[in-house]
Amino acid sequence: MLTLVELACKRDERTLFAPLSETVTPGECVALAGSNGSGKTTLLRTLAGIHSQFEGSFQCEPFLYQGHRIALDELLNPLENLHWFGALDGRTVSDDALRDALARVDMLPYALTPCGRMSQGQQRRITMARWLLSARKLWFLDEPLTALDRQGQVVLNDIIASHIDAGGAVFCATHASLDVAAREITLAPLTEAP
């Protein structure tokens, strides 16, 4: 699903970590550990095609990327946002699929309130609904646990577990450990570039 060959990301012409070679197969959850500034976010953004300064290579099938930013338009309500993200993928999202996704994250009553007026945790839940609606099998999640309350974390672990069982793959950077059994990769930060 995802193969990395001697991948080393660079920022401001400096290599951040030792070259990495990994493969992620369907039904696998990989947790990316590493101290702050070790390049976890940069690696995820490189795999998502946003960051373009790296050495080595990687192949990955169509993916879903969730960065630090919420990726919701604060002027629009959840329904409009999710419809738009569906259109971004070139799909039209049916109403009951929307209803199920929102129910799954317990955000159904908030379906029509503009996202700008929601709390950070609620917006995170709406992005989880977006993951459910996206047809992409490979998920890149950057610190998914941030701003989630206890109940939210339960929902998150439940979603990831069912995604893995359904044959998807998750490649996520996180400090707190996930309930799901995850293979750990640590990035060895390069103190002095060769």
Partner: protein, 220 residues
Amino acid sequence: MGGLLRREWQVLARNRAQVINPLAFLFLAVMLFAVGGPLEDNTRAQYGGAVLWLIVLLTNMLSLDALFRRDYDNGVLEQVVCGADVPFLVILLRIGMQWLSTGALVTLLAPFLCLLLGLPGHVTATAMLALALGSPAISLLGAVGAALTVGFSRGGILLGLLVLPLLLPVLIFGTSAINQEVAGITNNAQLYWLGFISMVALTIGPFATTAGLRISLQMQ
């Protein structure tokens, strides 16, 4: 495609200030020029065309600065670049919407502006045609500057510095189209040139804007 367009309309409907403020500034600037400029009507007609185009250019710079800023901050732009099959289309739609809310609207309001600027009646048709042909180039090339400067907090100045030199031909041909109409000389050449420049901007604009956004996104 429909879904993408729907969101643009929704954002436009809920963020009307983004459309109204530049227009208000446009009329304000025209008034300032009219008050500041010479009073006799014959001289005012001579520089009316230049004033009109200058103000349209500068108002566009104001609205271009905020073109991608909101999506850049809330993370939607990331999803466009890495999620969409064709990010180019989404960005072309966004530029189109910006043109609608500035270029097209100014073209529709041109009769009032020509009136305020003391341009004779028969000039209005040419002014509208020139604005319609020239304003796409402003939005398309301006979007490239907006994409490159969205990462900086005070990007507005740099946006103008990067884009206005490239828009000099639009100012030259737009102004002389109106001036020659005032003098009664045919000005098809200028209109063709404005159309040509807009076509060039249409071919390189969206691609360069996408490349610019990819650069700015790496600055986050």
